[in-house]
């Protein structure tokens, strides 16, 4: 389980650093975020929810059957938009209304 941070897109806002429940993300000397302890990631998705620059991809490790798809999420007040991009470019989008309860 882990995340990958695209340093070109990262704007160094530090939001992911402060929210990670394991404090696993740090800033490098160029002021860009990197995950210092990738094997320690719990996969909680808190960091991708914070990153407005969409610089963080969430993926499943190969050891748990991951196939390289990348997941991001955009948090809006009235809409949570999850986007999953497969390696062949196929994109899945799932929109969730945060005001609607789970049906299960």
């Amino acid at each position: 389980m882990s995340i990958a941070i695209n340093q070109k897109t990262c704007v160094g806002c530090k939001k992911c650093l402060s929210v990670c429940p394991g404090t696993l993300i740090k800033l490098n000397q160029e002021g860009k975020a990197f995950i210092k302890y990738p094997k320690d990631c719990w996969g909680c998705s808190s960091c991708i929810k914070e990153c407005q620059a969409k610089a963080i991809d969430f993926y499943l490790g190969a050891d748990i059957g991951g196939r390289g798809s990348r997941m991001q999420v955009e948090m809006k007040a009235d809409q949570v938009i999850w986007k999953i991009t497969e390696t062949d470019g196929t994109i899945h989008v799932i929109e969730i209304n945060p005001k609607a309860s789970n049906q299960y």
């Binding site: 929210v19 429940p21 404090t23 909680c44 050891d63 748990i64 999850w82 969730i96 309860s101 299960y104």
Partner: protein, 564 residues
């Protein structure tokens, strides 16, 4: 010589851990008293602890037609009677009150046309739990006189003559050594993950169910300080979706999927349906060659597929990612399940501090709430909130009744010793072993000799004896660990906490000479359960030695309060 800067703080109530119970304790104090509050949280209260990714339902609620007493009976039956009737009842009585409060704070709860909550089975209600932690955190951040110290990890209590005086902590980001003095302390650090070799020991080693960052600090600090602890032998093993270790309740209860083996046979009838029996059945089916086991989702509707994917995004997004990546929806492929490594978690089973009905521990002025508190299983989110509320009110009362002169302590000596200990780790040179290596060694010992996944959760007396011996060796080695920076220092403390808890788990497993719960505590030398063991196994460290204490059950209608 590396030295740490010292920060001294003083408050009325120190809350250790700003998770579910800790945040609610702060809200309760502000509603009931003027007392000053500090929350020391190792991460950031916005997304720390169990609630980080969101939760799928309120698992503990008294739905229409049920009573708090029914809840007590259910939890007692599930744990085969090794529970505290008084704690379960006081918890159950508050469940609906805290749920209403959560709704007022902004949690979305599903309602029917009459405006009543929609029940999921006998005890659950349906919600959108994605933002449950930010909701709590926002409420806490808006309070007066509640100082939240994020990224401050508590490493030890300050206790004198069995009374709590505060705690020592490490500022991981500001690189400081904190001395926080308090008149009362509420411990709400959650349970302990990472004691046993996990399901995915390689790259995804932290893709576990319980937060890997809840390392059991509260248990370890209590054990070290001589607090009485209960029922560490009732380990919690969760039945989860394979690989992603995502919860299964949403599938099982949501779309009514049954557990089936590889032959398609529903096996729950054979083993029973308590929490431990469901795990045991799955282990047995695998052992006897009928694995893997699944939740039978094949054939559900397309609408159910879509709803499941959304529900998982709201609490365990990796499972939805897995469905999408594999190109197969749950309707097309049953969901494979497996048991997790054992955790120690007082919100699901009954391990933790031995508390009275006010959630006071055996250390004066120290209260415990949530997964860290024992005797009261099946707490879940709402039970943790209720315990935070009870502990908060009791802490406020405690302060009001306490004479100030009681609190003299030898501050200089205490602080110097602790600071030296911390700094010495930063200054050790050339250690042979790293913290990660010793963690791996610990998890392997627990897996092999104390009933981990690799041994189908079973053990015998000889194995436990070996486990104890080997954990002792690793404890000795841990004294030589070094840390190059604050984060590594945190890793050293986390490992030491886990080792202390391992010792207690082993001692408790050895003490209960029966098998009351399959898988949770399955002693092959005593494969049957016995009425003689209808009692609590407790422990307390006296003069550096863990001493077992056996206590009679406190049944529904009875109460236990500390004397003195």
């Amino acid at each position: 010589m590396k030295k740490l800067q010292v920060k001294q703080l003083e408050t009325d109530v120190l809350i250790i851990g700003g998770g579910t119970a800790g945040c609610y304790a702060a809200l309760t104090i502000r509603e009931n008293a003027k007392a000053g509050v500090i929350i020391a949280e190792k991460a950031n209260i916005k997304r720390s602890g169990c609630l980080a990714a969101g939760v799928n339902a309120i698992n503990a609620y008294i739905v229409k037609g049920q009573t708090p007493d029914d809840y007590v009976d259910y939890a007692a039956k599930d744990a085969d009677q090794i529970v505290r009737g008084d704690l379960l009842l006081t918890m159950s009585q508050g469940l609906n009150r805290v749920t209403k409060k959560l709704e007022d704070l902004g949690l979305v709860i599903l309602k029917d046309d009459n405006g009543d909550y929609v029940a999921r089975g006998n005890r659950n209600i349906k919600i959108n739990g994605e933002n449950i932690k930010p909701i709590l955190a926002d409420a806490v951040n808006g309070l007066d006189q509640v100082q939240v110290l994020n990224q401050v990890n508590v490493i030890d209590y300050i206790v004198q003559d069995n009374q709590i005086l505060g705690a020592f902590a490490l500022g991981v980001e500001d690189e400081c050594f904190y001395i926080i003095k308090a008149k009362a302390v509420i411990c709400a650090t959650g349970g302990a993950a990472g004691l046993y070799k996990p399901n995915n020991p390689g790259f995804s080693r932290h893709k576990m169910w319980y937060p890997p960052f809840n390392t059991g600090a509260g248990y370890a600090m209590g054990i070290r300080a001589g607090a009485e602890m209960t029922t560490f032998e009732m380990r919690f093993i969760a039945l989860r979706c394979k690989d992603t270790i995502a919860p299964t309740g949403t599938i099982a209860q949501g779309v009514g999927a049954k557990q089936v083996n590889s032959k398609g046979t529903v096996y729950e009838t054979k083993y029973g349906i308590t929490t431990s029996e469901r795990v045991y059945g799955t282990v047995k089916e695998n052992q006897e060659g009928r694995g893997p086991c699944y939740l039978r989702t094949e054939g559900i509707t397309a609408v159910q597929d879509e709803e499941l994917k959304k529900a998982y995004l709201n609490m365990a997004p990796s499972q939805t990612l897995k469905w999408l990546e594999s190109g197969k929806n749950p309707s097309q492929q049953n969901v494979e399940i497996e048991g997790t490594e054992p955790y120690i978690v007082g919100g699901h089973t009954a391990s933790g501090y031995w508390v009275d009905t006010k959630r006071e521990t055996t250390i004066k002025g120290l209260f415990a709430a949530g997964d860290v508190a024992g005797g009261c299983p099946q707490k879940y989110v709402t039970g943790a909130l209720v315990e935070g509320e009870i502990a908060a009110k009791a802490a406020v009362d405690f302060i009001a009744n306490q004479a100030v002169s009681d609190r003299a302590w030898d501050e200089a000596a205490h602080t110097k010793a602790k600071k030296n200990q911390v700094e010495s780790i930063l200054n050790h040179e050339n250690p042979i072993f790293s913290t990660a290596e010793l963690e791996e060694a610990m998890q392997k010992v627990m897996d092999t000799y104390a009933g981990g996944i690799g041994n189908n959760y079973q053990f015998n007396e000889k194995q436990l004896e070996l486990a104890d011996e080997k954990i002792d060796q690793i404890l000795t080695l841990s004294e030589g660990l070094s840390a190059a920076d604050m984060h590594e220092l945190l890793f050293v403390y986390e490992l030491k906490e886990r080792l202390i808890i391992c010792k207690s788990v082993i001692a408790h497993l050895r003490a209960r000479k029966e098998t009351r719960w399959h898988s949770f505590a399955e002693n092959l030398d005593y494969p049957e359960k016995s009425a003689a063991w209808l009692k609590y196994v407790n422990s307390k460290q006296i003069d550096g030695k863990l001493t077992m204490i056996y206590r009679d059950l406190v049944k529904r209608g009875e109460t236990f309060e500390h004397r003195n």
